[in-house]
């Protein structure tokens, strides 16, 4: 039921992740990495303390130094989304015919292609840049000012790809900076937010009218925002509907996605930061020792054959974002 025809593959995929996913990458494992470090679990002998391991936790998660602020903004966003953004978006989707909605989406996307082109160039991807330029040319002419995505068809085979100045900065080593969530703007990082603001002023400054007109900018922001909200409704539901802490879930998914995109630009493929980099040490495996002495005896390690130590070698290899696990080998 969540799966709608257009977005079905995406929705299904997200669903696959069962919950967690809409957008994100590898910096998130960072908090996780703490897991790996939890070496001294001998303490566990007293499982009694269980229920309230209430460690006072005024900390923010890794990569989210503005967490307090962000959470407030997120609540405001959720409220606005409930009373305004989502209803309007769903109405838009229901009332406006699909051809019109995709046409509008294409026009605004087409207007952005020169910026994609510029970033392709800045990232020293000439082939990509040429394809982007060709795509822009085809769609602006045959595609009637971008209304139709002719370039995507098999005749041309020039599908859209995303690119941004945030990607370019990341490509050259600028870190993401703190995570920032703003109402109606959504998840971001300082780098991407700043880059986005800068990029947003390129067309107004270079081309001028109509891009420098407030009416145009409002229409663009409103229409693309509402359209995006409507199109990602199923995904958002799948992601956040199953979350204990929707704020953290969205942040994690977003940051993982961004980190993967940047890693791909920097190293050629996402695979350089292989998902296998994070060793995933089983916290329960360490526990097997105390537990065994407590009761189950030798049986425990045997049945519970989830190796605890598989990972240390792997984690030395990880030059990648999931690297935070590295400190752990020491103990």
């Amino acid at each position: 039921m969540t799966i709608r025809s257009t977005t079905s593959a995406l929705a299904v995929a997200i669903a696959l992740l069962a919950a967690p996913v809409t957008a994100a990458p590898q910096s998130a494992p960072a908090p996780v990495a703490a897991v790996g470090q939890a070496t001294p679990p001998v303490v566990a002998l007293a499982p009694v303390t269980a229920g309230q391991a209430s460690v006072r936790h005024h900390h923010h998660a890794k990569g989210d130094s503005l967490e307090g602020f962000n959470r407030v903004m997120f609540s405001i966003h959720q409220f606005l989304d409930r009373i305004f953004l989502r209803p309007v978006s769903m109405a838009y989707k229901k009332i406006v015919p699909k051809v019109v909605r995709t046409g509008i989406r294409h026009v605004f996307s087409n207007v952005g292609e020169p910026l994609v082109f510029a970033n392709d160039l800045l990232q020293l991807k000439p082939k990509r840049a040429i394809r982007t330029l060709a795509r822009f040319g085809v769609n602006s002419t045959i595609g009637i000012g971008g209304l139709l995505d002719v370039a995507k068809t098999s005749d041309f085979n020039l599908p859209h790809h995303d690119n941004s100045f945030g990607n370019t900065l990341g490509r050259y080593g600028v870190g993401p900076g703190p995570y920032i969530f703003l109402p109606l703007v959504g998840p971001n990082t300082l780098r991407d937010f700043g880059a986005g603001v800068g990029e947003g002023s390129v067309l107004p400054l270079t081309v001028g009218t109509p891009f420098d007109r407030a009416e145009y900018q409002a229409a663009q922001a409103g229409l693309t925002g509402i359209d995006l909200r409507a199109e990602s409704d199923a995904e958002l539901k799948a992601l956040l509907g199953a979350a204990v802490d929707p704020y953290a879930t969205l942040r994690s998914a977003f940051l993982q996605d961004r980190a993967a995109t940047i890693a791909e630009l920097r190293h050629g493929t996402k695979q350089t930061s292989s998902p296998l980099d994070d060793p995933l040490n089983d916290p329960g495996a360490t526990e097997a020792v105390p537990a065994a002495s407590a009761s189950a005896g030798p049986a425990k390690p045997a049945t519970d054959d989830l190796p605890a130590d598989p990972a240390p070698p792997a984690d030395e290899k990880s030059a990648a974002p999931s690297a935070p696990a590295q400190p752990s080998p020491a103990p």
Binding site: T2, A9, Q37, A53, P283, L306
Partner: protein, 201 residues
């Protein structure tokens, strides 16, 4: 003689290539195949099966293909060892229920989707990475990766990667971290129960 050999040799090679390839199939692919088959079944069953019907179908598949226990431990993190055994068991069953319910509600319709599994399986230490692609007649193909680890002699899924980028486990850890840090296992269990109640509506 020579003439016929020219044909026979390649033919033999061709014939033997097939079983060879089959033999070379990585054992870690099997559970992923099982899961994909199960998902297609409930998608095609759709509303005829109903939510409960889909849960009933996919539940055993999840049990067979996922290491829910390990996933739960990793989702909670190192503090797992401080959780009372009773709460540990509750968390694991909550995680299972949630996983099954999510598959059942998210894979509820069929629009011609298909899964393919990349024959190349990456291995690192104890773990394997099986890459798959979800394709639909409309929309872009979506890469989905599965990380597997052996448990009791069987390969079990311990993490799922959407677009080869977003780790379900990493996301879940982030999801749990704050609630667990503030309220411990009990608070987490309460939240999960709430979610289950909502999902069952």
């Amino acid at each position: 003689m020579i003439f016929s050999l020219r044909y026979v040799v390649p033919m033999v090679a061709l014939c033997s290539a097939v079983p060879l390839a089959a033999q070379a199939t990585d054992p870690a692919r099997a559970p992923v195949q099982t899961l994909n088959d199960g998902l297609l079944t409930i998608m095609k069953g759709g509303s005829a099966l109903g939510t409960q019907g889909r849960i009933a179908r996919i539940g055993p598949v999840v049990d067979q293909t996922f290491d829910i226990g390990l996933i739960t431990r990793l989702s909670v993190g190192p503090d797992w060892v401080k959780v009372a055994p009773g709460d540990q068991a509750t968390l694991v069953s909550a995680m299972r229920r949630m996983t099954v319910a999510q598959y059942a509600s998210n894979f509820s319709t069929y629009g011609g989707e298909s899964f393919s599994i990349d024959p190349r399986v990456e291995t690192r230490g104890t773990d394997k990475l099986v890459r798959t692609t979800l394709s639909a007649p409309k929309g872009d193909a979506v890469p989905i990766g599965y990380r597997l680890r052996q448990s009791g002699g069987k390969w079990k899924i311990v993490d799922v990667y959407y677009k080869n980028a977003i780790s379900q486990l990493a996301t879940r850890r982030a999801d749990f971290a704050s609630v667990f840090a503030k309220g411990g296992a009990k608070a987490l269990i309460a939240h999960l129960d709430d979610l289950a109640a909502k999902g069952g509506r």
